[in-house]
Amino acid sequence: MISSPAGLISFRVKAEKRYDVFEAQCPETGSSPVGTVYNKDLLYQDLCSFLCVDDSSEEDDDEDLRKTEDRDGFLAGAHMVDSIHTAASAEAYFDLYSQTQVTSNRTLAALQGPRLDVDLVRSVLAKLIPGHAKHCKVLMDKHVTLFNNWMLHMCCGFNILLHGLGSKRDLLEQFREKHLIKFSHLVVNGYFPSLTIKHILNAITEDLMKSSKGFTNTQAQLEYIKKEYINRDEDMFLMIHNIDGILLRSDKCQAILSLLAEIKGFHIIASLDHINAGFLWEQMKYFRFRWLWYETPTFASYGAENFYENSFLVQQSGGLALSSLAHVMRSLTPNARQIFLVLAEYQLENGDSTSYTGMSFQGLYHMCREAFLVNSDLTLQAQLVEFKDHRLLKAKKNFEGVEHLFIPIDMATLKEFLQDYKNHTQSA
């Protein structure tokens, strides 16, 4: 509990710091000044509840607690705000960051045997029998009883947001099969590393509305959907697994999703997992969504969601690299894109040999010059900086002192990226 005003201030400072951390994780968030203020407010709110700085007196909570236990006797832990004394406080932050970090110097190299690769880890995990299966099942069954409630509330104009520990994919999938199957609906995998908002809108206009119109920008597309659905007497359900997924985190995506939520007949049921996901929305968006939160811990492992996440201990699979590659490419000038493509194609052709160290800078320069992409090696250097900053390009000097450039992504990913990119440019 924070009592003194001074404590509150430092608490606030901490909250802002906290926000920066989240900000750093989603660099795309180009939030407006006003939006930022609200974001911080939301965050403050969540932290308040996290630290149990609660408005209602404890007596009230106790009473409520008893009531809830009476009502559905199972989630005894769901309302134990008081019983856990969370250690987090303003002082804890400064304690943690003031002391110098002393960790041992041991590395994973001390382990015997080679590092595991992704496939091996997956196959091992697949054979494991998850513990607490029976209890998880009970928990799941309890959530299933809420299905009717969710539908009812969606009919009444609210949208449903699920949170709580554990993968909620299966739960939502069950819900879909039971209730949504007869309505038009769209399943979005928010955790998917190359998902864009354009895909979602295209799926709505092309697959559901059967329109063959091409749209130049998302706003026009959104307007079109809105206009169409005012006249249509039809419900549309949008199921978003992980609305806090990496590529949906950007301000723009959430703005469009929130605008979709406003359309008459559109209903959203979504899940979120990231602990700071509450700060995705500033006031405006949050209101447009009209969320009703449901706590549905399942304790299931994040199989599908975590599929694309990089792990520290294993060799990289490249799923994320692909998404970041697509991202960076989108933000570049056509010339810079072409330069990267030249390099990527060269690497695909020659990368199979074990002695491949990369394309020499001069070689790249000549090829680019021939294609009228650059006019001096200085401009080429300038163009490459962007890729180096995003760790999509690495430079090494070989024994002769000649700089060699290579893309630190495995061949399969690179191949796929090129294919994707070509498809994209053709369709666009």
């Binding site: 196959s123 199957i181 309505f183």
Partner: protein, 787 residues
């Protein structure tokens, strides 16, 4: 057009596809891939190009009644119906309130926009040459979610009253000047589209044609598509509104004349364009920038300078929404640009005032049957005042409370509008009555508050119960009218007191009343009575008069209020004729003369005597009357202001189940994740994981163990050590049984692949949840993101 996200590089033969859409097939494929992936991970690369899946449905609309909670409760359908009726009624009230609230400022603003260009042309040519754009700055206050509605109201009002040419520029259009202009032009030309004829030449500007079908069609851009520039807009404007050109082409002298004699000018112009009614005055273009602070300064600057240069041909009026203060404009714009604006400030009523109105008229009004109980009331109010300051959110919360009330409380079947009381109770079926009788609240009522033979009758006799319920409802409604009238009167008295012991806002007093204790027992009430006892004659008189005026509308609603009003009125009369009050001072003086202090007395006797004397100090007739008034009022308040929670069967109207709505409206996702990680046993309800929050058990899920271990670390975590700790915890049981130290050590050095894989999974899940992230600061370390 093929979509990149639908490429499945699998040579699996497609199953029969007659009924399924292609996306469905792809989805099933993908699912099967996910399943197989566990066995054969090599397929992985082929499936990761799928992001979203669309399914065409067969049913169009989802109906609420299909999803009612499955239970024996049969009346829930009726209650849902009732909810809709009451909610519609409420929505009507809210809409009315909203339009009332802004009406004044909107009227001012609209007359400004209508007048500004007229006045402009009365001025000399010089000011035209400078090109000051008439600008209405609307200070909206920090309350963003509600602003959209406000501006759309303003939009429709402007369109109906001033000019059809109104453009709303949203922040999303303002990334570049070109998008801004094109949005402006498309909005303006779209408005004018129905007016022009099909064969009109202007149709080569891209437009949305509303003239044809009811369906909205967007015309395919014609080959000679004009680029969206201001000069094109000017051309279009001149073509569409030729009368404006006439207006501009008239000589300055004539222009001045037309303004001075506006009536005459109308007469003189009408013959020219008899067909067009709008030709009487120039058609103004209104451009609304909803959130001017959010527009990037350079775009705004460009836009303003553009507008000012074209001002002679385009009569533009800007309406800027500002969240903070007018100074913000000067901060955004350099003086060279801001000097182009001729600003007029309009202050929208702040959100808190809106809330007060809303609460007074809707939440705390006797008309609406549904009421919030103290806990829920405070909860929603706190969210508004301390978190979001948004009325829309408040209304949403209120709506959710209403749904919950009607769905979960069988007694709410009776929670209807006042005029329906008798019909509603008369039409109760036997089953519904039985349902009501089963309610604990009803049982309590019968047991404690009904005496004699009625008790049994209430439980058995249907028709008797119906009439009885009708009277109970009537009583409750009577009570509400009384209470609100009394509260308003008391609040009015409290407003005049120093330091406002009863609170400035009516809601504060109301919440005291809601909280369960009688208002007359509260500290604030006692204090305010004491302060009232010190009031001067003039103040008290005017206060009572205005107070009576306030509650006069409830005069006929109940006898108690009538009595209060008549009492107060007689008091006012007596106060005004204070000279006629009997003055007891003469007798008093006699009395005191007779009671001279005894010559010789014991000390305590003297003390008592003196005390009694001081008590009987002189009171003026006014002071006596004042005491009488206050005592009388106190008695009235005692009768009027009983807590609603003490009323019989108040459960019909009051929703007080905070726990059921709190977690849905104001959830703390991070908190719940933390709880689940720290005490998995509480959620899983298993015997093996029950422990204190601090301790770690090997039976817990891997993720919980890894999380708890990471809580012990600083900002950096060594992965190797973390892995070792994990293995130690997980293998604690085996280790204690085998007890061979050496064996354990080797297992530490060389953990099984299975353990490693479990650890890897747990760590990457923690990363996914946002607790840690990778770092380059030290090899094989991760950074902690929480503290």
């Amino acid at each position: 057009m093929p979509l990149p996200c639908y490429h499945v590089y699998l040579s699996v033969p497609l199953p029969e596809t007659e009924r399924k859409t292609s996306a469905q097939v792809k989805f099933e494929l993908w699912i099967s891939c996910m399943m197989r992936m566990n066995e054969q991970s090599s397929i992985f690369m082929t499936v990761n190009t799928l992001g979203c899946f669309a399914f065409q449905g067969t049913t169009k609309r989802a109906k609420e009644k299909d999803y009612l909670p499955i239970s024996s409760d049969k009346c829930v359908v009726n209650r849902l119906q009732l909810y809709k009726e009451v909610w519609d009624e409420l929505q009507l009230h809210i809409d009315m309130l909203r339009s009332d609230l802004n009406s004044k400022i909107f009227d001012d603003l609209i007359s400004f926009t209508a007048q500004c260009h007229k006045a402009r042309h009365g001025k000399s040519r010089v000011s035209d040459a400078i090109g000051e754009i008439p600008t209405a700055v609307l200070i909206t206050g920090v309350n963003t979610p509600d602003h959209g509605i406000m501006f759309s109201n303003l939009d429709s009002m402007l369109k109906s009253r001033v000019t059809p040419l109104v453009a709303r520029i949203l922040t999303k259009d303002c990334s570049r000047i070109s998008t801004l202009i094109s949005s402006l032009i498309s909005q303006l030309t779209c408005v004018a589209a129905p007016q022009e004829e099909e064969s009109d030449e202007a149709s080569n500007i891209e437009e949305k044609n509303l003239a044809g079908d009811s369906l909205v069609q967007i015309k395919v851009p014609v080959k000679k598509r004009r680029s969206p520039t201001m000069s094109n807009l000017v051309k279009w404007y001149k073509k569409e509104f030729p009368e404006s050109r006439q207006a501009t082409s008239v000589s300055p002298r004539k222009r001045a004349k037309t303004d001075v004699l506006s009536d005459e000018s109308k007469d003189s112009q009408t013959p020219m364009d008899e067909n067009d009614v709008k030709s009487k005055k120039k058609t103004i273009i209104v451009v609304m920038l909803e959130d001017a602070e959010n527009v990037s300064p350079s775009v705004l600057q460009d836009f303003i300078s553009l507008c000012s240069t074209h001002l002679t041909s385009l009569p533009i009026v800007l309406v800027m929404g500002i969240a903070t203060a007018v100074t913000a404009i000067h901060q955004i714009l350099p003086s060279s640009v801001s000097s182009l604006l001729c600003m007029q400030k309009y202050q929208a009523p702040p959100a808190s005032q809106y809330l007060t109105q809303l609460l007074d008229k809707i939440v705390m009004a006797p008309e609406l049957p549904f009421k919030l109980g103290p806990k829920v009331f405070h909860f929603l109010l706190d969210i508004f005042l301390y978190h979001d300051f948004s009325i829309m959110n408040f209304i949403m919360g209120f709506q959710y409370c209403m749904i919950e009330h009607y769905l979960n409380n069988p007694l709410s079947l009776l929670c209807c509008l006042k005029q329906d009381f008798s019909s509603k109770t008369a039409h109760l079926s036997h089953a519904q009555l039985e349902d009501i009788r089963r309610q604990p609240a009803f049982m309590r009522y019968v047991e404690h508050q009904v005496v004699g033979p009625d008790q049994a009758k209430l439980l058995t006799d249907d028709s008797f119960t119906r009439t009885h319920l009708a009277t109970v409802l009537q009583n409750l409604s009577q009570y509400h009218t009384k209470m609100f009238a009394g509260l308003h009167f008391l609040h009015h008295l409290g407003l005049m007191l120093p330091k406002f012991p009863l609170g400035k806002q009516f809601r504060e007093l109301y919440s005291v009343c809601l909280s369960g204790n009688h208002v007359c027992d509260s500290e604030g009430y006692k204090e305010s009575l004491q302060l009232l006892r010190m009031m001067s004659l003039d103040d008290l008189c005017t206060l009572l008069e205005s107070g009576v005026g306030l509650i006069a509308e409830w005069k006929d609603s109940s006898s108690e209020i009538g009595k209060l009003i008549s009492d107060v009125q007689s008091f006012i009369h007596r106060l005004k004729n204070i000279e006629e009050e009997p003055d007891e001072s003469l007798e008093e003086q006699d009395d005191t003369k007779g009671r001279v202090l005894p010559q010789r007395a014991k000390l305590y006797e003297l003390k008592e005597k003196l005390q009694s004397l001081s008590h009987r100090r002189y009171k003026s007739p006014y002071e006596k009357l004042r005491d009488e008034i206050i005592d009388n009022l106190h008695n009235h308040f005692k009768i009027l202001l009983g807590s609603p929670l003490l009323q019989p069967l108040h459960e019909i109207f009051y929703f007080n189940d905070l726990s059921s709505i709190k977690e849905h409206i104001k959830a703390a996702p991070r908190c719940s994740t933390h709880r689940a990680l720290v005490q998995p046993g509480k959620y899983l309800n298993c015997v093996c994981c029950q422990c204190e929050p601090e301790s770690i058990l090997p039976t817990m899920p891997d993720l919980c163990i890894v999380y708890k271990l990471h809580l012990e670390c600083g900002t950096l975590i060594n992965l190797y050590d973390w892995l070792q700790a994990f293995i130690t915890v997980v293998t604690a049981d085996e280790a204690s049984s085998s007890k061979s130290k050496k064996n354990r050590k080797t297992s530490q050095r060389n953990p099984s692949i299975e353990l490693q894989a479990r650890f890897i999974r747990a760590v990457s899940e923690l990363q996914f949840l946002g607790f840690i992230k990778s770092t380059q600061r030290k090899t094989d370390h991760v950074m902690r993101l929480t503290w």
